[in-house]
């Protein structure tokens, strides 16, 4: 097994853990954390793919992940502010079952 294949399996396991967190946890902060873990698992798969050809390291996935990291921090920052406003409006740390 190559290093790339090994880390692609790790990425799979990470995404599974993140999904488990998203399903079982309802606290907004934890959900945001779980989405971030999920994002990291996708990034890991991309970087593993960049590494699989023994001849060269592919810079395009690296650029994609770099873009992805910045997008992740932007989205996280907004999500945290939104969650805080929601908490201060409602006193709830989680979303209600349904809004209908």
């Amino acid at each position: 097994m190559t290093q790339a294949a090994f880390f692609s399996l790790v990425a799979g396991a990470l995404s599974g853990i993140a999904i488990y967190g998203l399903i079982t946890q309802r606290h907004l902060l934890r959900r945001i954390l779980a989405v971030n873990v999920l994002g990291n698992s996708v990034f890991l798969l991309l970087v593993a793919l960049a590494r699989r050809d023994p001849d060269y390291v592919d810079p395009v996935p690296h650029a994609m992940v770099l873009t992805g990291i910045v997008i992740a921090v932007s989205a996280t920052a907004f999500a945290l502010v939104l969650a805080r406003r929601y908490y201060s409006e409602t006193g709830l740390t989680h979303l209600p079952e349904d809004e209908e």
């Binding site: 998203l22 907004l28 959900r31 945001i32 989405v35 999920l38 994002g39 996708v42 798969l45 991309l46 793919l49 699989r52 395009v60 996935p61 994609m64 873009t67 992805g68 997008i71 932007s74 989205a75 907004f78 999500a79 939104l82 969650a83 406003r85 929601y86 409006e89 409602t90 979303l95 209600p96 349904d98 809004e99 209908e100």
Partner: protein
């Protein structure tokens, strides 16, 4: 040189947004209008160039794919671009007086809306899977705050739910992109599909990307956030979210299946996705019947109307149905865009004048809001699909395609959806045109509407009717660069 119009349609609204942010809305109102008009002109020019010269291509940075990012406008992109520009211009004209009158903070609204417009144009033009991911994130991050603008509990909860779901969806999309790039070495929409063929990993990538986009476009069963998000936003934002943003997600679904994954489009897959669309049509319409407020009715109607777009996938694989279904679905997207934006703006007029949009409270407003009610009525007629509206033409073509291929089920869905739409439309219109309740001379003297707000909804809705007149040139434009099966 005409190729430069493609990047301009992204950069013009973007730079307008930045200028507005720096110098402040009060001093920049002229800049906003100028930017909107320029964007409209650029979009119409792109449509003209495509109609005359076929699909337009611009390689950003001068690098051809797979190295660089390609902007590509065919008939479908050009039509979506033009529709967005027309709706966007209407929303822009409307939003100024609306926000001022309602005491909303324009400083917060305008830059977000203009960036959103730029992003929509970018989404319709980009032919690069990863660039589309960035555009999708921009759409999410502009749409969620617009939905949360009211700042009360339902809209904050809806925005939070939308944000989490959309982030999850973009991760699924990005994972699909990663798989495609890993398998083919390119991120170009068409090249990746041609190189990949029908491998197992392509199927997984297609499933992931479709599911991710469904989360962003509120396709049943990922629809819960849409109604509170769209119905609580300020009216111009609702119009943009419902008529444009949600549709951009479904536009990408169709684009991906017809351009990137046509090899995977088997009958069961078509039935699965079309089935979700059919459920959305029926469910959204039935829910719309039960809502107590006008904007909620219109928001649920969006869930239903977006479902029609998915009916293309089961039909497009059948040669007898493909062409009319394709024409019908794209026309439906356009007509729905105009009618839905008009309907939301008309609802905004009622909120502006009456301070609420409860259906029961609309009795007796006809004398004061005649133009608005005309716009609302015409919008609902188009949503129902009655002649002589653009909605009628779209549903007629869709029905014709389904019946020509003997697909009675899909034809039945189209008819059933239209019937329930008629039911909720007449419920609204009957209440609005009803007499003032007994014992009241007049509920309340409504505020006077500024002319831009009075006429913008009507103008948008009339565009949906103009489509009937312009049907032939629109369909000719649509045939520019259409994929093999639907020409």
């Amino acid at each position: 040189m005409s190729g430069v119009a493609l990047p301009l349609s992204f950069f013009v609204p973007l730079l307008t947004a930045l200028v507005v942010f720096v110098i402040g809305v009060r001093r920049a109102y002229g800049v906003i209008l100028l930017g909107a008009l320029t964007t409209l002109a650029v979009a119409l020019y792109v449509a003209y160039a495509v109609a005359v010269g076929g699909p337009q291509v611009h390689y950003l940075g001068g690098w051809e794919p797979p190295l660089g990012v390609e902007l590509y406008a065919d008939g479908l992109s050009a039509l979506m671009l033009a529709m967005t520009a027309l709706v966007g211009a209407g929303v822009t004209l409307y939003a100024g007086p609306y926000l001022r009158g309602k005491g909303h903070d324009g400083e917060r609204f305008w830059p977000l809306w203009l960036v959103q417009w730029a992003t929509l144009n970018g989404t319709f033009l980009s032919a690069d899977l990863f660039n589309l991911y960035v555009m999708l994130e921009l759409l999410t991050l502009t749409a969620a705050p617009l939905a949360a603008m009211a700042g009360d509990r339902p809209s904050l909860a809806a925005a939070m739910r939308y944000l989490l779901l959309a982030l999850l969806g973009s991760m699924a999309y990005l994972l699909g992109v990663a798989l495609l790039y890993g398998g083919t070495g390119t991120l170009h929409l068409r090249e990746a599909g041609e190189l990949a063929g029908a491998e197992p990993y392509t199927a997984v990538a297609a499933a992931l990307m479709t599911a991710g986009l469904f989360a962003k476009a509120a396709v049943f069963p990922l629809h819960i956030w849409l109604m509170p998000a769209h119905s609580n936003a300020p009216a111009p934002a609702s119009a943009a979210l419902s008529a444009l943003v949600a549709k951009a997600g479904l536009y990408l679904v169709l684009r991906l299946w017809l351009w990137t994954f046509p090899a995977l489009l088997s009958a069961p897959m078509g039935w699965l996705i079309g089935g979700l669309g059919a459920v959305a049509v029926v469910y959204g319409s039935v829910q719309a019947l039960r809502q107590p407020r006008l904007k909620q009715v219109i928001a649920y109607s969006t869930i239903a109307q977006l479902g029609y777009l998915l009916l293309l996938l089961p039909l497009v694989a059948l040669p007898a149905a493909a062409v009319s279904a394709w024409h019908g679905v794209v026309l439906h997207a356009l007509a729905h865009g105009f009618a839905k934006a008009g309907a939301f703006l008309a609802a905004g007029n009622m909120i502006y004048c009456l301070g609420h949009d409860r259906l029961e409270g609309l009795r007796g407003v006809t004398p004061y809001l005649s133009v608005t009610l005309l716009a609302l009525g015409l919008a609902f007629v188009s949503l129902m699909g009655l002649p002589p509206s653009g909605g009628f033409l779209a549903k007629w073509l869709l029905l014709e395609g389904a019946l020509a291929a003997g697909q009675w089920f899909w034809g039945g869905v189209v008819l059933l959806g239209g019937l329930i739409a008629a039911a909720y439309s007449f419920r609204v219109l009957a209440l609005a045109h009803a007499e003032v309740p007994h014992g009241y001379a007049e509920i309340r003297s409504p505020r006077r509407l500024p002319p831009a707000m009075e006429w913008a909804p009507l103008a948008l809705v009339l565009l949906a009717y103009g489509m009937l007149l312009g049907g032939v040139p629109i369909l000719e434009l649509l045939d520019q660069g259409a994929p093999e099966g639907v020409r």
